[in-house]
Amino acid sequence: MSLAAESAPDGLVVDGARIDLFERGSGKPLLFLHAENGIEPSRAVIGELAKHAHVIAPTHPGFGGSELPKGMRSVDDLSYFYLDLLDQLDLSDLIVVGVGFGAWIAAEIAVKSTARMARLVMANAVGIKVGDRETRDIADIFAVTEPDYLAMVYCDPAVGRRDYKTLPDAEVLAAARAREATARFAWNPYFHNPRLKSRLHRIRIPTLFLWGTHDRMLSEAYGRAYCAMIPGARFETIERAGHFPHEEQPQVFTEKVFAFAGKSQERVA
């Protein structure tokens, strides 16, 4: 069953834009920032995470059913949007978990302020460039066919395959919007902010990098280099998973998040 079918997302208006937002579970607050393929593929992991925490999972502006605030163009803009969201919900002692593009947003938030954050988890993160100008650190996902893309980002491509002819209209439109929104924020410079690298030292909260080892969009060396730029950050791998380890190994992913962040006392049945 899809997230949307389980229950309609709650809406939240931030900076004048209405976004979709799922809230599940109780206990410590956990902000989940979805990857470039939208929130729908994260349904399993949101359920797992919500067994141990109060999960707040917004759909990024421009993705799914979320509006795009006027003038929003960059991940830098997105990070300020989420800082406003954290203020608006008055969240504190927060665990922030981001995957792929969502991990890039998480890093952009954290270099600006970690005042409301206790722990940061970044899985198969994009956002920086480590190689020289003629080395493509991040595979060009817009220059490959759909089957090649799925083979690139999943350990088991079947996990990512969708039958668009039978999916509900809203999900097909969400898939189209995810692709467009990804291009909006990550086309050029490609999946990175040239300024971010020199700011990563400002992240001084405990940080965990998770890495699906079958990611062929990013190399593990890229992930380790990224991790090394954040003081004290740890790096752990997840086997039998690619660029979206939360989709392919939602339980392992969840265990690793809470082994690092600590479980809340409260549990949800």
């Binding site: 817009f142 002819k165 097909v172 898939a175 189209a176 467009e180 291009a183 086309w187």
Partner: protein
């Protein structure tokens, strides 16, 4: 009617060795610069012949492709501005949303307008999807960039009293004052292309010349969208001179020879879409709603015959291309009949963009095609009475 001769200036020797993509990725080691030079000289000789025959001239540009060697249209315009004598020089078009620097575009086009003594027609276009991979401009913002570049270029061409300031969303200049100023006042005529009624309405409001390509007997609804917004803005019907159509033209003294030429010119249609699939529809180039339909496998066909039959431009046989109003082919009488029937369908179409050369059509065939058209067809088209513009506009309003 005016007729603009157009060739994509193809590097056709590579067409049969394309590895699945004639654009973007085809290694340029397959381009022999000596062969390319001969082809360029030939194509400019043919444009010269078009000028001598009283035809106007159209140029375009595409990037990283063997289908079109004109990769920077200012180069071709510059050559022809100096060497031709009478022809209007239409660029259709200049993909200004892709260009990093619209000041440079304004300067190039102003210089060409002056060198040609006011013969420039200035077509600005979005560019086909494949151009995105070459320019690397963000496809999501392409039309926003297009309109800001357009506004800037017009402002630069119409400002004559010293510098002005431009600090927009995409382009920033503080001391703009182009030299030379344009020859045609207030600026060279603006043209554009579209395949969608939505964009046609935008162009109608501005009164720009609107061209379509490959829309065949589906053209009327696009023209009508233009008519409706034009009437709303200007209170009168747009004349046939506001409408242009790109058609393939193959004329010969007998039908058999004309069909041979038609098949060679249709090589353009056969090869143009040979592009590695991921480059065919970059994200954001089309609205998400349209892309959702494509994900579902529902893409509306583009080309219809007069009877409403769907035609694939890439694979259709010659007869279907003729029936669809994509190819105008036959004896001079045939071609005149086909073109005027198409004008009647359109409710008026005053600018034929004539692809009279493409692909493997030889120089001799090309010149013969031009000469027959100029001698036997064009005079009759000039005398042809277009459908009544007010009646066409009234039909839309009704």
């Amino acid at each position: 009617m005016r007729v603009y001769q157009f060739s994509e200036q193809a590097y056709y020797p590579a067409w049969n060795d394309h590895e699945g993509s004639l654009r973007i990725t085809l290694p340029n080691r397959k381009c022999d610069p000596r062969v390319a030079a001969d082809l360029f000289h030939r194509y400019y000789d043919e444009y010269q012949a078009a000028d001598d025959l009283g035809l106007d001239i159209m140029l375009n540009e595409h990037h990283q492709t063997a289908t079109c060697m004109s990769s920077t249209v200012a180069v071709g315009l510059a050559i022809l501005a100096r060497t031709t004598k009478q022809a209007r020089l239409l660029v259709l078009g200049y993909p200004i949303g892709h260009r990093p620097d619209p000041l440079r575009v304004a300067e190039e086009l102003s210089a060409i307008d002056v060198i040609s003594r006011g013969r420039l027609d200035m077509g600005f276009i979005k560019g086909i999807p494949y151009e995105v991979a070459a320019s690397n401009q963000n496809p999501v913002y392409l039309m926003d960039r297009f309109w800001e570049a357009h506004d800037f270029i017009i402002k630069a061409m119409t400002s004559h009293d010293g510098t002005f300031n431009w600090e927009g969303e995409y382009f920033h200049y503080r001391q703009v004052n182009i030299w030379p100023r344009v020859w045609q006042e207030p600026h060279p005529p603006v043209w554009s292309t579209t395949g969608s009624p939505t964009q046609a309405r935008v162009l109608g409001e501005r009164g720009y010349v609107m061209a379509t390509l490959g829309t065949g007997f589906g053209t009327r609804k696009i023209y009508d969208a233009y008519r409706k917004s034009y009437v709303g803005k200007y209170g009168k019907a747009p004349g046939a001179d506001r409408f242009a159509y790109l058609g393939l033209v193959a004329v010969a003294n007998d039908r058999e020879e004309a069909r041979k030429r038609g098949e060679l010119i249709a090589g353009y249609l056969r090869t143009s879409p040979i592009v590695y699939p991921p480059f065919r529809n970059p994200p954001g180039y089309m609205p998400a709603e349209d892309n959702a339909r494509i994900l579902r496998g529902e893409s509306p066909p583009r080309t219809y015959t007069k009877a409403g039959r769907v035609v694939s431009m890439q694979t259709a046989p010659i007869d279907d291309l003729i029936d669809a109003g994509v190819l105008f082919c036959g004896t001079p009488d045939d071609v005149y009949e086909q073109l005027t029937a198409f004008c009647e369908h359109c409710g008026g179409m005053g600018n034929l963009l004539m692809m009279g050369q493409a692909g493997f059509l030889t120089h001799e065939q090309t010149i013969d095609n031009f000469e027959l058209f100029a001698r036997e067809v064009y005079p009759r088209l000039k005398a042809y009475q277009q459908p009544d513009a007010e009646a066409a506009a009234a039909a839309v309003a009704a």
